[in-house]
């Protein structure tokens, strides 16, 4: 590639509109030719300077002036002016263009007639035959002129029809274009309207979504609160059930006590029982009424009962205090037996006690309560009935 060929593609090279092959060739040339490379750089500078140039502002009223001038000229006149000029020129040229052979024929006939007259003027005057020929020629010319005028009239009429048809087609096309433009405008307006509504709807949806999210958050919090409340209520229910059960047990126990109390309550029973347990808070007292024979069986009943340990202890203590005076005989009997007043045991324990004595009795310490009861029963059995 030489310098001239390279310069021919400077613009394309700067606009990056050259083929890759040409670009490579030009790059190679620029490496080899410092002049072209410098020219290219200068061209870049010049184009940049040109592109930096701002446009000259039009005078403020120029657009309005142009518009008013255009609008002052009727559109029909503006359009018809060249059309009229065209039609005028055509009317002058139409016969020559449309019927050139007719004009040529008329001209040749006229030239022939003129030469004929000229020849005869020179030769001394026309003959009768010449005059007849001349008349025939004149008639032919007239006939041709008539044909020409008819043809011209037909042409004018046809051209008028064609022009009218063309104008109607043009106006129809223009009307269609106007309708098309109006439809386009309506479509654009509708599209803009729809876009605007869509944006509003999107904004509303966004707002509602935010409200919904807030409501959902509140709902979640409420559900969590409800779940914790349910859990708490379950635990409370369990505690309540336990408390109720405890209360019921206490009530049952109190009812049991109350039944015992009721059976021994002198206020609610006409027959005053011989043994009364009177509870005043934590203090229980025992009241007896009647003889010892009436009292002791009741006391034994309470002492042997496991339902009311407090009553049983009190009854046992009362029995011991009441039966102590009769214990001498039983203790003496025990002494005789060598059991130091301990009750005789049955079975292997009694046999062992009897054989080895009291030394080993400590290993089989009997229940104190049952022992005391056995001793008291024995005292009560061995006493003299009626003895107080």
């Amino acid at each position: 590639m030489n310098c001239a060929q390279c310069r021919n593609h400077f613009s394309d090279y700067l606009e990056k509109a050259v083929t890759p092959i040409l670009e490579r060739e030009m790059g190679t040339h620029f490496e080899a030719c410092q002049g072209c490379a410098a020219d290219l750089r200068e061209l870049e500078v010049a184009i940049a300077r040109l592109r930096k140039m701002t446009a000259v502002a039009a005078p403020p009223g120029l657009a309005a002036s142009v518009t008013s001038r255009l609008l002052a000229t009727p559109l029909a006149a503006a359009h018809s002016e060249p059309a009229m000029q065209r039609s005028g020129k055509r009317s002058a040229r139409e016969p020559a263009r449309t019927w050139p052979w007719a004009t040529l024929a008329a001209a040749s006939l006229l030239i022939a007639a003129a030469s004929f007259f000229a020849g005869h003027i020179v030769s001394g005057g026309p003959s009768v035959e010449d005059l007849a020929n001349l008349e025939n020629a004149r008639r032919q010319v007239e006939s041709l002129e008539n044909q020409l005028s008819d043809t011209r009239a037909k042409f004018v009429e046809e051209s008028a029809n064609l022009r009218h048809e063309m104008m109607s087609l043009t106006s129809g096309f223009d009307h269609w274009k106007i309708e098309h433009a109006a439809a386009l405008e309506i479509e654009r307006k509708t599209r803009r309207d729809l876009d605007r509504r869509l944006q509003e709807t999107a904004r509303q949806i966004e707002t509602h979504a935010e409200s919904l999210a807030a409501v959902q958050a509140r709902l979640d919090a409420t559900i969590e609160e409800r779940n914790s409340a349910i859990t708490e209520m379950d635990s409370l229910t369990r505690e309540l059930a336990l408390a109720t059960e405890r209360r019921a047990a206490e009530t049952r126990r109190r009812l049991a006590r109350a039944s015992a109390w009721t059976t021994t309550n002198p206020r609610e029973s006409r027959a005053v029982p011989p043994v009364l347990f009177v509870r005043n808070g934590d203090i229980i007292r025992l009241k007896t009424r009647g003889t010892l024979d009436e009292i002791v069986p009741h006391l034994f009943t309470f002492a042997e009962s496991d339902a009311e340990p407090e009553f049983a202890d009190l009854a046992l203590t009362t029995l011991e205090s009441r039966l102590e005076p009769f214990a001498l005989a039983v203790d003496a009997e025990d002494t005789v037996r060598g059991l130091s007043g301990r009750p005789e045991r049955a079975g292997i324990v009694g046999w062992f006690n009897r054989r080895v004595g009291l030394a080993n009795a400590a290993y089989e310490e009997p229940d104190e309560r049952s022992t005391r009861l056995d001793r008291l029963r024995r005292i009560w059995r061995q006493r003299v009935p009626g003895e107080q």
Binding site: N8, V45, R49, L50, T54, A55, A57, L71, A181, K189
Partner: protein, 225 residues
């Protein structure tokens, strides 16, 4: 980039806040072809819209081609009048902008020829315009060697130099440069405008750019140093 330049010049795509415009927003949304159809049917607003869109561009082109504001104003008026008269001949398949600029270029070319016939010189120097400063014009306030003004003044002065360099080119070179660089016409539109092939347009544009570079290098060698 090109659209920005066009918007700066107030051409199609100018903002709706332009106080000089009275056309409706609906018309501004229509493209040129639809506006032309409406204008042909007698819609005055469409005519006004077309004039509003293209007055700045046509005026700028005529000013760059003819050199004076008065001539540019007359040429703009005449361009629009010719376009208005021939509006029915406009083929809607063509680009209206290219068609309008073709009318503008034809008028400017005829005007330049008339000037040449009248004065015998290629182009009259623009009235009220100073001659390009010579190296001896040390007292010229526009002399780039003596002036030290603000940035705006420097920029205006540089633009003035570019304008002068443009006026050293032949009219057709100037036209192809302006229509390509400023009005953004495609090679196809330029080929139809100058009645030649696309390849010829490219060659002319390349020659015009090289010629502008040469003239600029003569006028302002410091730009290329």
């Amino acid at each position: 980039m090109k659209m920005n330049r066009m918007r700066d010049r107030g051409e199609p795509g100018a903002g709706p806040g332009d106080p000089a415009t009275t056309t409706s927003l609906a018309l501004r949304a229509l493209d040129d072809t639809d506006c032309v159809v409406l204008a042909r049917s007698g819609n005055e607003t469409a005519i006004e819209e077309l004039v509003r869109r293209y007055t700045p561009g046509v005026y700028n082109l005529q000013y760059r081609l003819l050199g004076t504001r008065e001539a540019a104003e007359d040429a703009t008026q005449e361009t629009f009048m010719r376009a208005y008269r021939n509006l029915t001949r406009f083929d809607p398949r063509r680009v209206f902008k290219a068609w309008l600029y073709a009318i503008a270029w034809n008028y400017a070319r005829d005007e330049l020829r008339r000037r040449k016939r009248r004065s015998g010189i290629p182009e009259a120097r623009p009235a009220g315009q100073r001659a390009p400063p010579t190296p001896s014009a040390a007292d010229d306030p526009c002399d780039y060697r003596t002036a030290a003004p603000s940035e705006t003044v420097v920029r205006k002065e540089e633009e003035e130099w570019v304008h002068r360099a443009l006026h050293r080119l032949r009219p057709q070179e100037r036209a192809v440069l302006l229509l390509r660089e400023f009005e953004g016409l495609s090679y196809e539109d330029l080929a139809r405008l100058f009645a030649c092939r696309v390849g010829t347009v490219k060659s002319r544009l390349n020659r015009a750019r090289l010629a502008l570079k040469r003239v600029m290098a003569k006028l302002r060698p410091d730009w290329f140093s």
